[in-house]
């Protein structure tokens, strides 16, 4: 299913990724019927350029906020600071949320940030674990 991402929210994702350099950023996107409506920044407790672990307290608070608003958790996002917007092996191994999109913001080419989204299945063999879903800027 295509995710429709308003440009203002795409800009917010890139702004978050840029603000948190040199580390990876992370957060969640809420919305309805495939349309992204809210971006929720969260803290990366690893504070690392190579790893993100969302602060669990913020994770719970944001999940509840999205739930309480009647929205769906459309995507979990994080940044890749130097590599392309494609899931790493670690991204797949830790993808517990198989029904939610994992959106990656790449700043590998700083002048041309890249945003891509994937369904990840950690219980599947490698060739079936990653399915890209289109992101349409609206």
């Amino acid at each position: 299913m295509t995710m429709r991402l308003p440009r203002v929210l795409a800009d917010e994702l890139v702004a978050h990724a840029t603000t948190d350099l040199p580390n990876e950023c992370c957060g969640m996107i809420g919305g309805r019927d495939g349309l992204a409506m809210t971006v929720h920044r969260a803290a990366n407790t690893e504070a690392s350029p190579f790893m993100y672990v969302m602060d669990p307290r913020e994770q719970l608070r944001i999940m509840d906020a999205i739930d309480d608003a009647g929205d769906d958790l459309l995507a979990i996002y994080h940044s890749h600071t130097r590599s392309t917007a494609f899931p790493s092996r670690t991204d797949v191994e830790l993808a517990f949320f198989s029904g939610t999109l994992y959106l990656i913001v790449s700043l590998a080419t700083p002048d041309a940030p890249e945003i891509r989204a994937f369904h990840l299945r950690r219980d599947q063999p490698a060739e079936l674990a990653i399915t890209e879903e289109p992101v349409e800027l609206v």
Partner: protein, 95 residues
């Protein structure tokens, strides 16, 4: 019976409910009873070594059990247990 809060990601594995009443006097006993009733949950939370995945957090009444007695943390009838898989990953092996 304690109350287990089920986050959306695990609801399909328990028949779509938000909360379950599960017997057990420790976190380990509650999880064992939950796995027995809903084997799909075990598949999502337990690593290949048979242990709870280190990126799955468990809270009893909003307290992280890692800061208490981990799986031996006592659970009473009026307690609420929350299972929260982490949102995590990394670019170390990216292509």
């Amino acid at each position: 019976m304690s109350t287990v809060r089920v986050p959306p990601v695990l609801r399909a594995a328990v028949g779509g409910v938000r909360e379950l009443s599960v017997p057990g006097s420790t976190v380990a006993e509650v999880l064992a009873a939950l796995y027995a009733a809903h084997p799909e949950v075990r598949a999502q939370l337990v690593s290949e070594s048979g242990e709870l995945h280190r990126f799955v957090n468990i809270y009893v009444n909003d307290e992280d059990v890692r800061l208490h007695e981990w799986l031996e943390t006592p659970v009473g009838d009026t307690d609420t247990l929350l299972i929260l898989p982490a949102m995590a990953g990394g670019a170390t092996a990216s292509r």
